[in-house]
Subunit: 497 residues, 4 copies
């Protein structure tokens, strides 16, 4: 292709549905044929037809995305010249956000995991916040995940020598510094330019396992390369692609790169309705939409984007096949009933993650810790609790949450959003601080529980009686309440004039 074909003025004219070029990081691509297959929908491509889309492309695509999905002949060559910088006009909200970034609290003042979210909420770009924080439908399961831990209380032991407390444990036979891990989350670059890499480094330095998402915004190899020491443990989270050959390649590559576990996500045959995220799209698209037909169905934009990576026909019979592909421990992620835990055992898996995908898939799915309390007695009764590892994720914010799950019988717990928020706000140092805070809480609270080793955490240390006390109050009697005048505390003398 001729040089002059790739100068800005010419590229700009290939801006139609049937003649659609786009510039990414200085390279010109012809996306005309790819348009209907774009997982993120056609709209965004049409919006950037004949333009430079690097700024919106980079944070949500790993660098190898182009090569993976586009035939090489569609690369037309390097751009000649440069698109003129668009002058940025900041909204008041955006100005405030940038000011808040300047005024971010120092990391030393972060004293618990909640604080990371508080900071991130205020400095994340709105679309990133919407993507990270959103959950399915009315977000009931999202909050129930956390709330359920508040229905479990402790029966601590006293007068136990707790001078030395050891919070280390093993996952699939590999030693780790604490019984939690950074769970797989997509699109870390939306919050921090280092994306999943700073999570990898922070976890590595703290000797905490990281689970790598199929949908990470860095490429799998970049993240594997980011390990800070040879024996740093990582796991690979797998969305089973409809293209099974591609999937097989992914599994084998993961094993080659030293992944210590393969976590197959099974709770996302299609992606849940996440309305905060959906609303955000409308805002972004406001200019495009102004003249658009009001009846276009845009409600499935994000879902369809990611769904094409995920095969809805995946079933138990596929698990046997995957089992045969690798020596890595295989763990089913997204299990929500004890029957399915037993099926995982039957299919030769090494473990399960009890999870409802952070409340992002089926609303009114139950809190994983509640499912855990049902699963473990069953496994113990069947003698299956020794060689089969049960993990939980969702809603964990405190060392006491972790201890509750471990007392019930979990081998470890995963945290997802917390690491995204810590990373978004403070990068690698934030990730480390998150690990440290949680370790500190774990150690202190084990001491207060009267326990010195992870394996001594037992159900008898818990009061589970109120775990089923998930209630909905009878609707308020507004007329009666309007009339009730609350009692008042003692009053100070009035100010003198």
């Amino acid at each position: 292709m001729e040089r002059h074909d790739r100068i800005v003025e010419v590229v700009s004219k290939h801006n139609k549905r049937d003649d659609l070029w786009i510039v990414l990081n200085g390279k010109v691509y012809d996306l005309t044929d790819f348009l209907p297959n774009h997982p993120g929908g056609q709209k965004v491509l049409l919006k950037f037809a004949g333009k430079d889309a690097s700024k919106i492309f980079n944070p949500i695509h790993p660098p190898d995305a182009i090569e993976k999905f586009l035939p090489p002949e569609k690369y037309l060559g390097p751009l000649v010249g440069e698109f003129p910088q668009e002058e940025e006009i900041l909204t008041d909200e955006e100005e405030l956000r940038r000011e808040l970034i300047e005024r971010k609290p120092p990391l030393s003042q972060i004293i618990n995991l909640h604080d990371f979210e508080t900071v991130a909420r205020q400095i994340l770009p709105p679309a990133a916040l919407a993507y990270y924080s959103s959950a399915a439908d009315d977000e009931v399961s999202l909050r129930e995940n956390h709330n359920a831990y508040h229905r479990i209380f402790f029966n601590p032991k006293i007068l136990v020598d707790v001078k030395e407390v050891d919070i280390t444990t093993e996952f699939f036979g590999n030693k780790t510094s604490a019984p939690f891990y950074a769970s797989a989350t997509a699109l870390a670059k939306l919050g921090h330019p280092d994306g999943e890499l700073s999570i990898a480094r922070g976890c590595g330095k703290e000797d905490i396992v990281q689970m790598i998402s199929t949908l990470a915004s860095c490429s799998f190899d970049e993240i594997a390369d980011a390990r800070v020491k040879d024996d740093q443990q990582q796991w690979f989270q797998l969305y089973v692609n409809s293209d099974r050959k591609l999937m097989e390649k992914q599994v084998k590559h993961a094993e080659e790169r030293g992944m210590k576990g393969l976590f197959i996500t099974v709770d996302a045959p299609s992606l849940g309705r996440r309305e905060k995220d959906m609303k955000m799209k409308f805002d972004d698209d406001a200019d495009v939409l102004e003249d658009a037909d009001d009846n276009i169905d845009r409600s499935q934009g994000a879902s369809r984007a990611l769904s094409s990576f995920i095969d809805p026909s995946l079933s138990w019979k596929d698990i046997g096949h995957i089992r045969s592909l690798t020596k890595m421990p295989i763990v089913i992620k997204g299990v929500q009933r004890k029957e399915d835990v037993l099926l995982a055992v039957d299919h030769g898996c090494q473990g399960v993650v009890l999870s409802n995908h952070g409340g992002r898939q089926l609303d009114f799915s139950r809190a994983p810790v509640e499912v855990l309390a049902e699963v473990m007695p069953e496994l113990r009764a069947k003698g299956l609790d020794k060689n089969f590892e049960v993990y939980v994720d969702g809603g964990i914010r405190r060392g006491t949450d972790v201890l509750k799950a471990l007392c019930l019988g979990a081998k470890g717990v995963g945290l997802g959003r917390v690491f995204l928020y810590a990373n978004s706000a403070y990068g690698e140092n934030g990730v480390r601080k998150a690990c440290q805070l949680l370790k500190d809480e774990l150690e202190m609270n084990m001491r207060l529980l009267g326990v010195t080793k992870i394996e001594d955490l037992k159900p008898e240390l818990l009061d589970l009686r109120s775990l089923p006390n998930r209630t909905v109050a009878v609707a308020q009697d507004n007329l009666y309440s309007n009339n009730y005048q609350p009692m008042t505390s003692v009053e100070f003398k009035p100010e003198q004039d």
Copy 2:
């Protein structure tokens, strides 16, 4: 009658209790004798004595109301001339409302059924909103209907091939596109000039069953005529009139017009106290009342208006008679105890609707879904769950709500207010969008539940343990709460001056 008798100036003088003419849509009527029999009470007739009442008459009466209730000789002939247009003075509230109509969100931004209500609340005339939204007494059952769904959680299955999901089902042997229907609601014209007709058209295009109310603001035939295709299903909802001959005529006419089911409402022997609606009447009447005796009992205005259509002596023995009049399936609507479900079986009915009339009748009647959870095991134990169809309505807003009812054993669910709000805000397109949204949610959530066909929805997919956890909290300790200083999140650095 002479022409000059019907000129505006003359008509205006027939404005007394014992000489009362009223103009409706250009026709002059003598309502002197009819005054005491007006279902809506005498007051409104006296207010419009000698005037043109079309504007207030049309939205709440079907066009055939006059012929049905007035002897032909009371029609005095067409008005000669025209009443002078009253200059409209808008209140601030009314001006805001009209401005909000202009600023209504585009239909594309409606992403769930709640949104229709949000829009409708702000653009409906206050009297219409009061009528639609009000419920009995303290509106406890109204909200309990919805809340009860939040006490049911799911036990979803994983690793089921859910590539193809089918949400179609059959009601009384007739195929329908989804397991929900538009329930009968009165006075749709209060919210939209097309009234029940746009609901009929929207449902027809979406292949959703519509139940036609006896008290619709369009005439029954208009609504039947509004079907968009021959096999569009409609049901007829019957308030049994004290005049049994009239009732028999209604039933036979319904059958002739192809209604696929006869739903006899039995929970309204008298109409419930709906205080929001009652308050609205006071406002409307403010000018009339200023000089009135302060002791007039107006508390039963609306109730009495509609009650005269409904026979409080209706009892089980009437059901047998109605059964003999028609071949349509007969369904008892408003059942609230399992004993009465069994009686319905005994009386040869084909089904019941478990319903408390949207919380508009007896406050503290239970949520239908709670009754459903008791009824179905009983029917199954008696082998009656196959040839007898159980429906529920009340409080449904989400696809997950529908799935919960279906897992419990409901054949289908009805939505009433949602369709009124969708129709009021966006007419036929709103009705269609409401259907589409609910279908989308159903399909997606069946997939996430691990179910591909309606008949595979089973109670074991539900966690019902907290269904009875309908609680009322011990009253707050205000003094203690006043003193408690909530924890605070991390703070950003102060702004620099």
Copy 3:
């Protein structure tokens, strides 16, 4: 005593602890010796020493209070002259209150019993409101009394002929128009100048039983004289005085005046701490107290005032004696355990009122309706439910509340504050309207329950399963809640500039 001794200037000088005259309604009294025995405490007498105290005396003492408690020689004769009218300086609050009295809603707009309280709250003098509305300690039982009704739902019957509904019943064999009564309350004159008399007249005209308080602000005979017809039923509520002779006189007099029942209050051996009331006293006394010793214990002012009327040594053996004094049915008022109901039977009583004194005595005493649900099965099991009548009071605001109590087995229910508020806001007409509203609600809701006679109200019409679901939530997780961003409804388009 000489005329000049009783002129204003002279009276004013008898203003010391050991020489204390006070003027009441134009009469001069020497209260020096009475000072230590004043049930309302010495402070108020000292405040009005040498002054005219009529304005503060009249609303809280029946007219015969002086003769009853003061030896005749302490009356010194009529005042000569007149105390100069003190110029009234109104606080902003008092001006607002007087303006609100002018703007009081017309009685026709009162549509439920709650509304009376709303009006009364805003127009009552603050001290009256504090006295009426206050309850013990943290006012938990006060609100629990009402809340408990919200934990009971209905199982209504359908297809019952409810054309004719009869809400009349009998109390102790005497027919009455509805199954509720106006319970005894003290100090009605604080709210309305007619005091208990307008309650008597209003109840009489509505054929509702009134219970007359020992501590009424009108004299017993005045209230008995206020009956509007010969067979109007009244009951007498008795605080048993330490002076048993006085008590015997009261009982016999009550019988002579035709009282149809004697209700002995037993839940007030000393009066509960009512902190709103206590605080009010401080405000009133602000001027007196300014120079006073800060350590005076004023916390028991009001309690001690009324307590001296009540003998804390009252016990079961006294009941037998009282039983022998009269033929009136004897009812123990203030029973809170089923054991004591059985003791009442054993001691020859005709009934009990399950009551915690409107939450004004022991905080955390249980809601009477909850106790009722335990008592009645016990009485039925022992065959005692026929000739022994059980009443309840506390927290009743709706017809459905009454029906719940009656379904459980109560013979009737008492309302106290509601009648005080209705009377305070609208006098006799308010009392009538309160009766009418409650009757209307009863009749309508019996129809909706599928019941036509009081005796057909049965426990099976209730769902009592959540009655014990009196919960206290685990304390809120403030950090988590701070971070959660609630979902938002659809937004209207922005205003155009």
Copy 4:
């Protein structure tokens, strides 16, 4: 040491880590060697290096702290001259606080224990409030301690002669005026200059037992000396020091000084995370920290400070040894499971305090009153309830709370923060008033319960059914709630212009 060495100008120069002098109450000390051993951390010493630290030292150290911990040779002699007074610049908050101290309500207006906290909250220095009010993690147990009492209701008896009520009782055979005591709390001087001494005097005058903290801000002997009469009872609370010789000395000294009980705290092997307290430290340190490395871990400042007094290796075998050292009754404080109560019996202890340290240690530890309800039946079944005394503390604010604990079987209850707040706000008189208020409430409520002696308080007087009803509500449905328009009370007529 020469005189000129101790003049202000010279002392000021010894302001470095390796040459660190500090002035306390006019005496110069060399703290260079002590620096790494300071329980309160090095930072504060560095901040005051070469300066006068009396103002910050005195409120948190007993006067004998220096002699106890510093070798005599480190005292360099009296300061010569005086440090110039630093000019005080008040923040707005501090100005408001000082104004509020002036406007403090008179003690006579304090009508319940809550009021002390209301006053103290507003007049305490922020750091003192943070230290007193803070609790562990999310402060769930803090509030649960109080809330749990609200899940217990009464079954009061009637018609019992309650003229004479006796609230006196015995603790370990020693008579006391009421069944409660002032529990051990540290650092009373933060709130009031008299510190623990005014608590000692107030309790003495009210004949209430005081428990003296190992960490009191007055010295043990000062507090023992503050007794107002010979037989005033005090108990000694012991944190077992790693230096067992020191501990033995403390125990023997306590016995010599007439302590009537030895309470060994066992729930604090390390000090809980108290985030309000931690945050306060950041504010205090703001100036020091500005240039500091942002990554310093300061999160354990306060904890480590106090922790060094407490041996985390303390275990049951130490209890036997302590038992052999003294004749005082030995009580284990901080027991949270019935198993450990039985172990305390086995180890020869005379009692336990069921306590979670006011919610300051392990969050989600259970409310002591809930544990009590499980422990007592076990002790009774084993016949151990007679010679073994069970106490509870945490969350008590009302006489009814005390009665509930006593009905369950507690011998007495402890209050900690309440006495700190009463003392901080009003000194000795506040402490007395707190005792009086609680005694008054106890006496009144025993009368209302139908009980005249402490030993007649029995479990059957309680309704414990809702004690386990500790619930967490299903998360709110925000979209539904946004749409629900609450009912409104009747409205007054509009104001006339």
